[in-house]
């Protein structure tokens, strides 16, 4: 049985900037209300053009679950680790809050959760996998995110990657993210 490679494929062109995903994530994962404490976000990209010829896109994002994981490399206690499917997680009991992972992360995906007294980030709702989709994937009105095993060619995620050109964020840092944005 081939090892699983979990990934999320996003079609940001369908994103309505409705914030369903960000709220669902906070409730699913007990993320505290607060301006700094968020696992996922939806950015309103810069407005282009002059009135009335304007365009604007929205970009949902979160921890990229990199294959070349800068956060896991610098974590002194191995609190940050990767599961065999490639999901990057934090063992809260081992986290010493040295914050090396926060300075190492090129995506500003991590934050300190003072209730947990540890560093937090998107876990791909690992506790839901594989029977249920991550909360952000499930709740989205237009199904911007598709979760799947990209080692399985029959998965919806694999098919999307096969049929579309896609990009990943900050390719110059060579982190090889598991979040793919369809063009």
């Amino acid at each position: 049985m081939a090892k699983k490679r979990y990934a999320i494929v996003l079609d940001a062109s369908k994103c309505l900037n409705c914030k369903a995903c960000t709220v669902a994530c906070k409730l699913e994962n007990d993320v505290p209300v607060g301006q700094e404490t968020y696992r996922i976000w939806v950015t309103e990209n810069r407005l282009h053009g002059n009135f009335p010829n304007l365009t604007q896109t929205f970009q949902p994002s979160q921890c990229q679950h990199c294959e070349n994981t800068p956060c896991a490399s610098v974590c002194p206690t191995n609190a940050t680790y990767k599961t065999e499917e490639g999901v990057v997680l934090v063992d809260y009991d081992k986290c010493v809050l040295c914050k090396a992972c926060m300075t190492a992360c090129p995506y500003d995906a991590r934050f300190v959760d003072e209730h947990l007294a540890a560093v937090e980030k998107c876990t791909m709702c690992y506790h839901r996998l594989p029977d249920r989709d991550p909360a952000c994937v499930e709740t989205c009105p237009t199904k911007v995110r598709v979760f799947g095993d990209i080692n399985d060619p029959e998965s919806k995620a694999s098919k999307l990657l096969a049929k579309n050109s896609y990009y990943r964020l900050k390719p110059s840092v060579n982190t090889r993210p598991r979040l793919f944005y369809v063009d």
């Binding site: 062109s13 369908k14 309505l16 900037n17 409705c18 914030k19 369903a20 960000t22 709220v23 669902a24 906070k26 409730l27 699913e28 209300v33 607060g34 301006q35 407005l47 053009g49 002059n50 009135f51 009335p52 304007l54 365009t55 604007q56 896109t57 929205f58 249920r132 909360a135 499930e138 709740t139 989205c140 009105p141 237009t142 199904k143």
Partner: protein
């Protein structure tokens, strides 16, 4: 006043059971729906009692199905109910945040009686018994004092418990029931019904061309349209969006036209002109189904694209392009009916024009077009009998004597087909909020001195807050039923805390549309505080009312007896589960399905073609699709939509336009901490060039001033709005200290909006206010 003069429609619960024409229930599930986890309470691996309970959301009007994840009696999360196909397996930001509502620290927890001055915020907690008694006694007092049951108004907004609030108003017998449609969609219902006899939906899953005027579906969620237009639409669907503001929908559209506000009718008339003059119309459809096409040809002759360009500031070439594309893809083209139409005083004519465009191209009742709604009929409570009361005067907004012409702006439109003295068509149940308030303030033709308000917040929902507050001060008794200390509750005398939607049983609602479905609610958790459902409240008050003889001295004793036997005993004094069971009794297995899956439906396929059946008769006077409306002609209105220019703001003024964001519902959700942190304070959108002229930078505070009020608000300087308009969101700048997150934070809309109406439907026109802006 004799019984014979009473309007028959008041006896809305007197129904004669006819031949039941129910369709056969399939009993089980069909087709394509995904599985839901719908387990009974189990003990999970950590030893907690865990269950997944299906129910329906109430954070907005869409009522999406949800499955609540409850652990040890606490709601952990609300997830989409994949069986509820109307929302295509989604739960939005508000739906998710609803999990925090029962635990909101600002929630109302016990009945409260005002002890200080009205609006002072001093309360005394009382028991439910005392509260019911008080409410019943006040109702009796007001009836005796004013000899008119309509001296107490019953104000509500839609919801699953509204029928029980209606039972209260009907039990008391007031004709002054005021509801939300004239703050929202009365004009669009009126406009489309005047053509097709019904207010339809649009099939965005099949349409190849969609023209959306103002309906910002990306941010004003309507299921399934909000989902379909981005997720389930045909790959090559063209979306043309028309709005003075660059909303999220504009960002998703293929073309956006920044139309001059108030001129949408000109645009649509020009589209009709192109289609008629260039022969793009569907001749067969027109001949077979419509009335008045010949008149239309004459009527639209002058409404050329060149003419329209001057009115709406959309180039004539573009108008032609839109018309031709629309026609090219017909009948799989949609001019989207929309929902909120509290825009301008001639919205009914504008909506008529949209319906006429649909009619002449035959984009009706087939895949990809505009579709009349279907619904799953539920069993009603036949034979529920309410007493006929003598001491009742007719609706105040209908029977008023003075004119309403001060509620219509004094411009060209006033002279073209808008009744000046009174509203042409008001719904018996809904009335017209603006006209109602105006009549109450004048006590014209009689005083209204009591109010029962359920689930609505008129202080912030109705334009011209000063007038609403003045009206409230005129009251001798105000009882508000709500889950939070809304601004209206803040000014009330008796506040009854309702259980949230997650803590109660709610009767079934049959949600109509292209994919009809039925939902109900079951408690996901037990009520955390001393709160009750509206049903229990109605039962409580009515049972107390029955102890007061003076409340029953203007009706027959036998009426009271029937009332007790057909309403009080079997409905009010029974658990709501019985009510639900009865509603679903036509369909074997439906009740069980509802409890287990949270939904009931016959099948999940789209419903087209019910008007295409032989001998189908449209609900219009002629029985046909009325391009030319004969009843309008009889009633002195324009039978065809006639255009007149709206007034314009002066060079130093702006027009205030309204709209939504996807994370709040009206003025009801801003105090939820998960939603509040998305938008902690509202900001006024000002076009960057105008802002520069006024010396306003992004983030500066400004004063927005109209003829009825002034508010201080942060400025958002942006290219996303026309230079002649400003915009800011609803639900901020609140007066109630019980909404701690938004008390006096940001600006109130109702404080500055002037009150106007579309006098055909009575719908408030909220985009007619001009404001001045200056730096703070």
């Amino acid at each position: 006043m004799g019984k014979g003069q009473l309007s028959l429609s008041r006896r809305k619960f007197l129904q004669v059971s006819g031949a039941a024409a129910s369709s056969v229930a399939a009993g089980g599930l069909l087709n394509t729906v995904k599985a839901t986890a719908s387990e009974h309470s189990i003990t999970n691996s950590s030893g907690n009692k865990e269950k997944f309970v299906p129910s329906a959301c109430a954070m907005c009007v869409n009522k999406c199905g949800l499955v609540a994840h409850v652990v040890d009696g606490r709601i952990e999360k609300l997830n989409p109910n994949h069986k509820f196909f109307k929302s295509r397996s989604m739960l939005c930001a508000r739906g998710n945040a609803g999990a925090a509502e029962p635990y909101n620290p600002d929630r109302l927890k016990k009945p409260l009686l005002r002890v200080g001055k009205r609006g002072e915020g001093k309360w005394k907690e009382i028991s439910w018994e005392e509260a019911y008694k008080l409410a019943a006694e006040r109702l009796a007092e007001l009836k005796q004092k004013y000899k008119n049951r309509s001296s107490v108004a019953f104000v509500s907004t839609e919801g699953f418990q509204e029928e029980f609030f209606n039972m209260l108003s009907t039990s008391y017998g007031s004709t002054n029931t005021v509801r939300h449609p004239t703050l929202c969609l009365a004009s669009v219902i009126q406009g489309w019904s005047s053509v097709f006899g019904t207010y339809p939906d649009a099939d965005l899953t099949e349409a190849d061309f969609v023209l959306m005027l103002g309906a910002n579906r990306a941010e004003s969620f309507v299921t399934p349209d909000t989902i379909d237009f981005q997720k389930s639409m045909p790959k090559k669907q063209t979306l043309v969006y028309v709005d003075p503001r660059f909303t999220a929908t504009a960002a998703k559209s293929d073309k956006w036209y920044a139309i001059k506000p108030g001129t949408d009718l000109a645009f649509v008339l020009a589209l009709i002109n192109v289609i008629v003059t260039e022969n793009w119309y569907d001749e067969n459809f027109v001949n077979e189904n419509t009335h008045g096409f010949e008149d239309l040809i004459k009527h639209v002759k002058l409404y050329t694209p060149e003419w329209a360009e001057k009115e709406c500031e959309i180039p004539a070439d573009e108008i032609r392009w839109v018309a031709r594309q629309y026609a090219k893809y017909a009948p799989r083209s949609v001019i989207y009916p929309g929902r909120r139409t509290s825009w301008y005083v001639n919205d009914v004519y504008f909506r008529r024009a949209c319906a006429i465009l649909t009619a002449i191209t035959g984009c009706w009742d087939e895949p990809g077009g505009v579709i009349p709604k279907s619904s799953i009929p539920l069993a009603k409570h036949d034979g529920a009998l309410y007493p006929f009361y003598d001491m009742v005067k007719p609706r105040i907004d209908v029977s008023r004597e003075s004119s309403i012409n001060h509620l219509i702006p004094n411009d060209e439109r006033a002279k073209k087909g808008l009744p000046q003295d009174s509203c042409a068509y008001l719904s018996e149940k809904d009335g017209s909020w603006i006209v109602f308030r105006d009549s109450v303030l004048k006590s014209d033709p009689y005083p209204v001195k009591g109010m029962f308000i359920f689930k609505q917040n008129p202080v912030e929902a109705v334009p011209n807050r000063e007038k609403t507050l003045k009206m409230l001060q005129q009251m001798e008794f105000i009882c508000t039923i709500d889950i939070q200390m809304s601004d209206t509750a803040w000014y009330s005398d008796l506040i009854l805390p309702e259980s949230t939607y997650l803590e109660r049983w709610d009767p079934c609602h049959s949600l109509s549309g292209i994919w009809p479905i039925v939902v109900a609610r079951q408690p996901v958790i037990e009520p955390i505080f001393d709160t009750k459902s509206m049903k229990e409240i109605t039962a409580g008050i009515v049972n107390e009312m029955l102890k007061i003889p003076s409340l029953w001295d203007d009706c027959w004793e036998s009426d009271v007896k029937s009332f007790k036997e057909t309403v009080v005993k079997p409905i009010l004094n029974q658990p709501t589960e019985k009510f639900i069971e009865h509603q679903l009794s036509k369909y074997p297995g439906a009740y069980e399905m509802m409890l287990k899956e949270g939904v009931f439906y016959i099948d999940d396929t789209a419903k087209y073609g019910k008007t295409k059946k032989k001998d189908f008769r449209y609900k219009t006077k002629t029985g046909k699709i009325e391009i030319y409306n004969v009843r309008y002609e009889d009633d002195g209105l324009s039978p065809l939509p006639v255009y007149a220019s709206p007034s314009q703001p002066k060079p130093n003024e702006f027009r205030m336009i309204l709209g939504r964001h996807a994370w709040n519902t009206h003025s009801g959700t801003q105090n939820n901490e998960y939603l509040h942190e998305i938008e902690p304070e509202n900001a006024v959108w000002i076009n960057d060039k105008r802002a520069f002229e006024l010396g306003i930078m992004d983030g500066d505070y400004v004063y927005v001033k109209s003829s009825v009020g002034e508010q201080k608000i942060k400025a958002k300087v942006t290219r996303k709005i026309r230079p002649d308009c400003i915009f800011y969101t609803h639900g901020f700048g609140r007066l109630s200290k019980g909404l701690s997150l938004v008390y006096k934070t940001g600006a109130s809309q109702s404080a500055i909006l002037e009150d106007y109406v579309d006098s055909i439907s009575g719908n408030a026109a909220m985009h007619e206010t001009f404001v001045e802006i200056r730096k703070a």
